[in-house]
């Protein structure tokens, strides 16, 4: 549907709205010659990382659409994906069937975790982000309880190669050798030394289409309404709480799939820490792409994953080149990921305040004018 917008597009506003992506382009441009990578290597790395991460980042879009901000609780989906993978590895189902089975198993776990998270977030309206942040930490504890203590003792794990020597609990690293890059290699093509994982990109494309389609559904419309004004939506008969829960559940399920795609590319995963930074990095990437707390598009996700991971690849080498210390670059990229989230959050909150004071100013002005007219 076409929309008449009266707001004008000016160059200044364009620069302002895209300040974060522009800043990242600059960082990358500075780092590029310093790091000294060959274009082929860079491109290869970048394509690999795009295939690996984009699906996860897309998981963030739906809660933003429903006005719940950045879903730090996507980590819950990542955990569900990991649990599913552990089980599938134990059952020794290899290759693509293993990946598909893992995805299927992850769905009920994700739904359960999503329901839990969504219900709690409904009790914390207005501070969904900080709550989902701590829910993810809380669930990390529960995840450890399940994987480190219950797996092998209560949840049957057959193969001792997976288990810790003490007989229960999963080893610190789970090998996914049997399904390593199976998705990526199927249908992969090689263009000038750059391997393109066509199937993975196809899956991502399908998800994008689903998201675009979803926006045009009744549920999508309801979510947009809930995002803008919960009370109006409720008065119109929309079940606000349920809509919000659905948004979180969908995000969690997509994050579960995303984690499985991410891990099959890596080929193994550290059992207890693979998910801990996933939320931060995915959110940072989305924000780098120009998204904000209340608005994010598929384009933001793609731009973000490109720029953010470009920075990720370049920073350590560039840091070493400048300071002679390889750790500097590592810390720098951690700093930048946190920093970009901090800046986005500050901009979001301060914009809310500015909007408030602006209305007051305009009203006062109107009255002054009237006063002048009265004279």
């Amino acid at each position: 549907m076409k929309r008449k917008q009266t707001s004008k597009v000016s160059l200044k506003r364009l620069l302002q709205d895209n300040s974060v992506p522009i800043m990242f382009v600059l960082i990358c441009l500075v780092c590029l010659p310093l790091a000294g990578y060959s274009p082929a290597y860079l491109l290869n790395e970048l394509v690999t990382r795009m295939g690996r991460n984009t699906f996860l980042i897309l998981a963030l879009l739906i809660p933003i659409m429903a006005g719940m901000g950045l879903n730090f609780g996507m980590t819950l989906g990542a955990m569900a994906g990991e649990i599913a993978l552990i089980l599938v590895v134990d059952w020794q189902i290899w290759g693509i069937p293993g990946i598909i089975l893992a995805m299927i198993i992850s769905i009920p776990i994700s739904i359960l975790l999503g329901l839990f998270c969504g219900n709690l977030l409904n009790k914390a309206k207005g501070r969904e982000m900080v709550t989902s942040y701590f829910i993810s930490y809380f669930m990390n504890g529960v995840y450890q309880l399940v994987v480190l203590f219950l797996m092998g003792s209560i949840i049957p794990i057959m193969h001792s190669t997976l288990k810790l020597p003490r007989g229960y609990g999963i080893r610190n690293t789970v090998s996914l050798l049997s399904m390593r890059q199976q998705l990526d290699n199927l249908l992969a093509i090689n263009v000038g030394g750059v391997k393109i994982p066509v199937l993975t990109f196809l899956i991502i494309a399908v998800l994008c289409l689903v998201i675009i389609w979803f926006r045009r559904t009744k549920l999508g419309q309801d979510m947009r309404a809930v995002a803008q004004d919960m009370n109006v939506a409720r008065d119109a008969g929309i079940n606000v709480d349920r809509t919000r829960i659905i948004a979180i559940v969908m995000s969690t399920v997509v994050a579960g799939f995303g984690m499985i795609i991410y891990l099959q590319n890596l080929g193994n995963f550290p059992t207890y820490s693979a998910h801990t930074q996933i939320g931060t990095f995915s959110i940072a990437a989305l924000l780098v792409g120009g998204a904000s707390v209340e608005r994010a598009s598929i384009g933001n996700a793609f731009l973000g994953v490109t720029l953010f991971h470009m920075m990720f690849i370049l920073a350590p080498e560039a840091g070493t080149a400048i300071t002679g210390d390889s750790m500097i670059g590592e810390y720098f990229r951690t700093f930048v990921s946190y920093g970009v989230i901090t800046v986005a959050l500050i901009m979001y909150e301060s914009r809310k305040h500015r909007a408030k004071s602006q209305t007051g100013y305009l009203l006062a002005l109107a009255q002054k004018e009237e006063e002048a007219r009265a004279k």
């Binding site: 709690l120 009790k123 914390a124 207005g126 501070r127 982000m129 900080v130 709550t131 942040y133 701590f134 829910i135 930490y137 809380f138 990390n140 504890g141 529960v142 450890q144 309880l145 480190l148 203590f149 229960y168 300071t323 210390d325 750790m327 500097i328 810390y331 720098f332 951690t334 700093f335 946190y338 920093g339 989230i341 901090t342 959050l345 500050i346 979001y348 909150e349 301060s350 809310k352 305040h353």
Partner: protein, 364 residues
């Protein structure tokens, strides 16, 4: 006329809700207190040395209590839980490292460290408070990420700043601070060893009289402050900012003051922690201090906008009891070391619980 009575019913409903909250509020704390009690009862049964355990709890209390106390001013002024305590810790670390760099040794170096940390705390706290005044309502999330980002920033700084003291820099390259610095000969035990009372000297267990006294002094100072005119105003700002504004209080100034106080106490708190622990930990280590501190005060009974000194004391004791006793007792009981998992679940669960409770007043 109709408005009148509708309002009254609404008030009544509010009242009822509040009372049911009050009764619900105690639940998680009761569970944790019960859990700690159970641990203490089980300790001798599973063969753990109770004196030893109690001694450990007291010592760990003396390390952590000041950090937990640093939560109080910001909660009082309505800035919510101080997830930005890493800023205070960074100020403390700067003070500590500078004290050593400048050649201070022995217990005196502890006070020199506090002195050197103070300007940093004022500066960082001032900037942080200014920021928080611009984003009222979104403090917690932003504080969390300001903390994380500043820790990452300081990671770079620890490598780049021109420290030279051989006790602190990497031996090989001669530059860049080590991840862990021993405080033997500096302010390690500076407070704890003062007037210490032996509990079980064979195992090196002493009652850290000096550290407890130091905390008592700060807590008394905080209690006294909250009874002054300014302290009263600060509490009112946290309780109802609109009321405070209508009563002629400069709300932003009070909030700024509270953030600076919290940050300074955070700086002192980490130095007290270090003198008890005996080591200074740099780089990502400050990250691990936030959660236990916030969880402790919540377990003590504080809410997002209410906290008192007893909350600090009870919370720290309960939390540290969980941390100290679970490894020995639970392991002996179920032959699994679930202590880390229990700690994560309790501290984060407590925070999630606090966040999902409705807040009244100020939020509107």
């Amino acid at each position: 006329m109709d408005k009148t009575d509708m309002e009254k019913t609404l008030e009544n409903r509010d009242l009822m809700e509040r009372f049911s909250f009050a009764s619900r509020f105690g639940l998680p704390r009761t569970i944790i207190a019960g859990f700690v009690l159970l641990l203490f009862i089980m300790a001798p049964i599973v063969g753990a040395d109770l004196t030893m355990q109690v001694g450990n709890v007291i010592n760990r209390f003396s390390w952590n209590a000041v950090l937990v106390l640093a939560m109080v001013p910001m909660i009082h002024s309505g800035c919510s839980l101080n997830f930005g305590i890493p800023l205070g810790i960074i100020a403390g670390l700067l003070g500590g490292t500078l004290a050593i760099q400048l050649g201070a040794t022995g217990p005196v170096s502890f006070f020199i460290a506090i002195l050197l940390a103070t300007p940093f705390a004022l500066l960082l706290g001032g900037g942080y408070g200014w920021l928080l005044n611009r984003i009222k309502g979104g403090e917690m999330m932003i504080a969390t990420y300001v903390g994380l980002a500043s820790i990452a920033f300081m990671c770079m700084m620890w490598l780049l700043l021109p420290y030279t003291s051989p006790t602190m820099v990497w031996g090989l390259s001669g530059k860049g601070l080590r991840t862990t610095i021993s405080l033997d000969g500096f302010y390690g035990g500076a407070l704890a060893n003062f007037l210490q009372i032996p509990i079980d000297p064979a195992n090196g267990l002493y009652f850290p009289t000096g550290a407890i006294l130091f905390f008592a002094l700060l807590a008394l100072g905080m209690w006294a402050f909250l009874h002054t005119k300014t302290g009263t105003a600060m509490t009112a700002v946290g309780s109802n900012p609109l009321f405070a504004r209508a009563s002629g209080i400069n709300v932003d100034k009070m909030r700024l003051l509270s953030v600076i106080m919290s940050t300074w106490l955070g700086a002192v708190g980490i130095l007290v922690y270090q003198q008890g622990f005996g080591f200074m930990q740099l780089y990502m280590a400050p990250n691990n201090m936030t959660l236990p501190t916030v969880a402790a005060i919540l377990i003590g009974g504080a809410a997002v906008n209410k906290a008192t000194i007893p909350h600090v004391i009870i919370g720290t004791i309960l939390y540290q009891s969980v941390v100290t006793l679970t490894p020995t007792v639970m392991t002996a009981m179920i032959h699994m070391d679930v202590s880390e998992v229990v700690r994560i679940i309790i501290s984060n669960g407590m925070i999630v619980y606090a966040l999902t409770r409705k807040v009244k007043g100020g939020s509107r």
